[in-house]
């Protein structure tokens, strides 16, 4: 797989604060890459550097094999959807979408009719044909997002950057918008980089996941790989809800996910954990129990159909050896196996 976007030794500082420090990061061409991390981890900085809105203090940025570090945003064959959508409030939906095509920098020069044709086909793709004559203030949040995406894809960019595209939508629209974005990615085939703070959004959408922690890449790779083999305790606890249980034992940190817990008789080689049930939550497809134990609290998922243990009762669960993660107790990095 050839590289769509490469960041090489990229450092960005704001005053004394290092916002981003990336040794090497490659996003495969045509991937839907999701950059995820807690707020302040540098994910928006990364997006602004790739877009060219900000310049790195050190390092080079490559898009589709060319060094774009010194190019302005308009000359990078990319476009961007902003968190607040940043539609031009004085222009109609059609004028917003077609804006970039009518600028001097656009090659080739397009006739009015061909601009209109491109605008209609982008609007059709996003299913906003009915809205072309409205202004942004007359649109709902979901419609504004579609307009912003249509405006971004009209120039058929190699790279599409999305900054927290779902965060300003209400919960009901969010899932719908996720599937729409996945469909769009399939139809466009361009490299998409999406930034989010929501780990479940990241896991469900990414085909390439980048986890950032304090300006550094904690781990990058296919989401299943990152979820199943977290490189650090940070990644282990950041991905998955509720987060992975971590307990120190024999001088190292032992991790296991709540859904890996087995009830009943212990299979051979399993790791057994005992505690007292503190809280039981109903999750629709089962229950989540949180237990207290001398080694620290832990939680386990009780599958649907199994009655949950009552609060206050003693509980022992078993974790198969294959579901155990071992981390260095001081550095938090993953130990092989």
């Amino acid at each position: 797989m050839s590289a769509g976007i490469v960041l090489d030794g990229v450092v960005k500082r704001y005053g004394d604060h290092v916002a981003l420090d990336v040794d090497h990061l490659a996003v495969p061409r045509g991937a839907l890459a999701v950059v995820v991390g807690p707020s302040g981890c540098g994910k928006s900085t990364a997006l602004r550097l790739v877009s060219g809105l900000d310049r790195p203090d050190e390092g080079r940025i490559w898009i589709d094999g060319s060094d774009v570090t010194d190019r302005p945003p308009g000359a990078r064959s990319l476009s961007m959807v902003f968190q607040d959508f940043a539609l031009y409030p004085h222009l109609t939906v059609a004028e917003n979408i077609g804006f970039s095509l009518t600028l001097r920098a656009h090659r080739p020069r397009l006739s009015r009719a061909s601009v209109d044709a491109k605008v209609s086909s982008a609007a059709a793709l996003l299913r906003i044909d009915e809205l072309l004559h409205r202004r942004p203030s007359q649109l709902s949040g979901g419609q504004r997002q579609r307009v912003a995406i249509a405006r971004a894809i009209i120039r058929e960019p190699e790279v599409l950057l999305l900054d927290e595209p779902l965060s300003s939508l209400d919960a009901q629209l969010r899932h719908h918008a996720r599937t729409e974005l996945l469909r769009l990615h399939r139809e466009l085939r361009s490299t998409i980089v999406l930034v989010t703070h929501d780990q479940s959004e990241a896991l469900s959408m990414a085909d390439h996941l980048v986890v950032l922690d304090q300006g550094r890449v904690a781990q990058a790779g296919p989401p299943q790989e990152v979820y199943d083999h977290p490189a650090t305790t940070f990644v282990a606890r950041f991905l998955g809800a509720p987060p992975m249980n971590l307990q120190s034992r024999d001088g190292l940190l032992l991790g296991w996910r709540p859904e890996a817990a087995l009830f009943g008789a212990a299979p051979p080689g399993a790791h057994s954990v005992a505690g007292t049930v503190d809280v039981v939550e109903y999750t629709g497809d089962g229950h989540l129990v949180t237990c207290t134990a001398p080694t620290g609290p832990w939680s386990a998922r009780v599958p649907g159909g199994t009655p949950p243990p009552p609060p206050g009762s003693a509980l022992t669960v078993h974790v198969p050896a294959a579901s155990l993660h071992r981390f260095d107790a001081t550095t938090g990095t993953r130990l092989t196996g």
Binding site: S51, G52, L53, P72, P73, G74, A75, L78, S79, M80, F82, Q83, D84, A86, L87, Y88, P89, H90, F99, S100, L103, R104, A105, H106, S137, R151, A152
Partner: protein, 269 residues
């Protein structure tokens, strides 16, 4: 009506009376014949147009208004062009020593214009611009700090991602100014323009220095010289003063909606 509403209305009422009473008194008096003009409670009827007849014959009102309109329009246009470019430059680009620039502009607001009169006048004479329209108009560009600051404030209220979106769309700074900033700034520009226009219209000292001859004189100078030539003849003077306010009042009547809108929309979403 709630008590707070009542208080607000009472306060506003006092302000309205305080600002309109002298104007209404002047308007009423301008229609009184000379034997009743010093009686403040006398009603203005039967209406007499004598004062206006005297004012219009002894007073070159058309040329005075024409000169004033030319001066106020030219100064407003020049200040707006310079202020838009300056404010856009300050907001859109990373300006070195931006803080110093801002402090200088703010400082310029507190420098009394009177203190600049002598240097401006000397430059004017040096340029040979005395008794010319250029001499009347161009030096008044020096008062554009307020316009720059007001427009800068309005630009800062725009969503910053708007500039970023234009940059991503590959718009040049000029295209961004012309096609994104100017349309959004129009309400602010009209309110700033009206402020500048009215202030320039009422300017007295500079026109007096720059264009002392009657061909180029503005209405405020005309009123003064009319007062000197007519002595204490207050009736025609009030009539002339009323005539001189007509263009500004007309502008307010036409644009009042726009003025209110401009102030309401200054925090653009």
């Amino acid at each position: 009506m709630r008590r707070a509403d009542l208080r607000h209305h009472a306060t506003l009422g006092i302000a309205v009376v305080a600002s309109t009473a002298p104007l209404l008194w002047a308007l009423a008096s301008s229609f009184k014949p000379v034997n009743r003009i010093y009686d403040p409670v006398a009603p203005p009827w039967p209406v007499s147009f004598d004062n206006y007849r005297v004012a219009l014959t002894g007073f070159p009102i058309a040329s005075l208004l024409g000169n004033t309109l030319l001066m106020a329009s030219a100064v407003t246009a020049m200040q707006l062009v310079v202020a838009v470019l300056a404010a856009y430059g300050m907001v859109r680009f990373k300006v070195r020593r931006a803080g110093l620039l801002l402090a200088a502009l703010t400082g310029a607001l507190v420098v009394p214009t009177q203190s600049l009169m002598v240097p401006h006048f000397l430059m004017l004479v040096e340029l040979g611009w005395r008794n010319t329209y250029a001499g009347l108009v161009v030096p008044q560009l020096s008062g554009c700090a307020l316009a720059v600051l007001l427009l800068r404030q309005n630009l800062l209220a725009l969503p910053p991602n708007l500039f970023a979106a234009a940059a991503i769309d590959a718009a040049t700074p000029g295209e961004t100014l012309w096609r994104v900033v100017l349309p959004l700034l129009r309400p602010a520009m009209s309110s700033v323009g009206i402020l500048v226009f009215v202030a320039t219209w009422n300017e007295y000292l500079w026109p007096l220095l720059a264009v002392p001859d009657t061909d180029h004189a503005t209405i405020q100078i005309g009123l003064q010289s009319f007062m000197n030539s007519e002595g204490a003849n207050h009736g025609p003077l009030l009539a002339a003063a009323m005539l001189s306010t007509i263009p500004v009042v007309a502008m307010y009547l036409v644009a009042s909606r726009r003025i209110v809108d401009a102030f309401l929309h200054s925090g653009l979403r």
